[in-house]
Symmetry: C2
Subunit: 285 residues, 2 copies
């Protein structure tokens, strides 16, 4: 009985649940620090918009025969651009993290330690119009482009059902006017789902698109979003001829390390097998 | 006794230590996925180098009176550029994540779940010369710039003691020649520590610097590295006049969300207080 009794306290202690550790206070993800908080990220956006604006002004003077929108029969190995005809000149921009910084949404998601949620994003589209800012350089560039007689159009995967609020977000950031169906094209307007090519086709029926800006390859062509395309093949297509010549020359990339299809890949997909190094000093994790 | 005996198995089970969870396999950090693995990151680099090359060719034809290197008495509020005199034209580039991708080092660090270590980086400088690649667009841009009679100089915080290996890394990536003391300036050459202004001053005594490229604000002026400069003030100075006009017009930023002083800041430093949003649906972490 003594031995038995002696067991009881230890036993009870062992059975008592350990106190749950306090959750670590969330820190700002490094991609957000760079994109929204750093001079480097701001400079990168200013540089992209300076190049975009200068390019558009130059092209508007020498009226181009070719659009920078790929034809319907184009492939990654055999691209072809649409002809312009006599249609009026336009530029096409993505909205989120291309034209505007979604500061309110990203703050809420990060400070609460959450990951992306489509329903929360939908609520953001409906209620967050006043918690954004223009990307650095965007407002001045779009003003200059409009002053040169070139139409500014937006092609976004925000929902057509929230068009009023997205118009308000763009206008409030100083980038408007954005008018749904005229200068703002949204998910649900043409074709289905997040494909942007059907909207680019609809825009191209009315305009000669001389430049496009985005933060994802899908802002330029849905061909880059093919599920069969591996991470290294996707990078190879974007960075070798013919597409390599378009960056800064019709297609303009805004750097977004916070979200999107650019944030994918295993070690073997991201790091070339012939560029590995092992610390000669060794060491463990 | 029966009750006591019945307690024992449960008690013994409770006392058995839980098996230690297997360490989670490290995943590629999202910044590395974007910079080294994505078409978006590659496009961003191609775009920056296309703008760099075009700008340098234009400036080399209309010989500038002013350098893009700040004078010794410049401040962030009152900057002044050095005069060029009749000195030969040059461009100045940072090396790491500006001219070359340090794939071997970043792979080793990430796959072993480690964070930055100065001693490991020193071993990388000494032994990793063949595990790098040029940043997309860098090789063609530097070739074009040299063909236009403009000298290509490198200003890096790699150690002068490892000059041979850094020359080999740059040459091996197809970006050379880099010759220590002539076209390659390293930590220890002029001044002390990681300050790059003394090296920019030494370069400016021999050259008219018409463009600079880097992935950190310190690649353009040490003024941005003042410890007294808050994260928001640093971004404000980089993105408002007079410095805002330099991006893509003499100063060229390569996007690096993997490391560096751009990856800093608390929620209050990164997100403006007047651009907050709380999900109306609420929800907890």
């Amino acid at each position: 009985m003594l031995a038995m009794a002696a067991l009881l306290p230890a036993c009870a202690a062992a059975q008592a649940p350990a106190p749950a550790p306090a959750p670590a206070a969330p820190r700002v993800p490094s991609g957000m620090q760079w994109l929204y908080g750093s001079g480097e990220g701001g400079a990168s956006s200013l540089q992209a918009y300076a190049a975009f604006s200068a390019y558009v002004i130059g092209r508007a003077q020498a009226r181009p025969e070719e659009s920078v929108v790929l034809a319907a029969d184009a492939t990654l190995d055999n691209p072809r651009m649409l002809p312009c005809g006599e249609r009026p000149l336009a530029v096409v921009l993505d909205v989120d993290e291309t034209a505007i910084q979604n500061l309110g949404y990203e703050y809420d998601e990060a400070v609460r330690g959450l990951s992306y949620d489509q329903e929360r994003w939908n609520r953001w589209e409906r209620t967050g119009a006043d918690a954004v800012l223009a990307m650095p350089g965007a407002a001045q560039a779009l003003r200059t482009i409009r002053n040169h007689g070139v139409a500014v159009l937006f092609n976004s995967n925000r929902m057509a059902a929230h068009a009023d609020q997205t118009e308000a977000a763009i206008d409030g950031a100083g980038l408007g006017p954005a008018v749904h169906g005229e200068t703002l094209f949204l998910q649900g307007d043409h074709g289905t789902g997040s494909a942007k090519d059907p909207r680019r086709a609809a825009i191209s029926a009315r305009y000669c698109v001389i430049a496009m800006a985005g933060d994802q390859l899908g802002d330029f062509s849905d061909l880059f979003n093919a599920r069969t395309l591996s991470v290294p093949d996707r990078r190879r297509h974007a960075t070798t001829p013919p597409f390599s010549a378009l960056w800064g020359q019709g297609w303009f990339m805004l750097s977004n390390p916070v979200y999107g299809p650019g944030l994918r890949g295993t070690f073997d997909e991201v790091f070339p097998a012939d560029r590995r190094w092992s610390d000669p000093h060794g060491g463990n994790r």
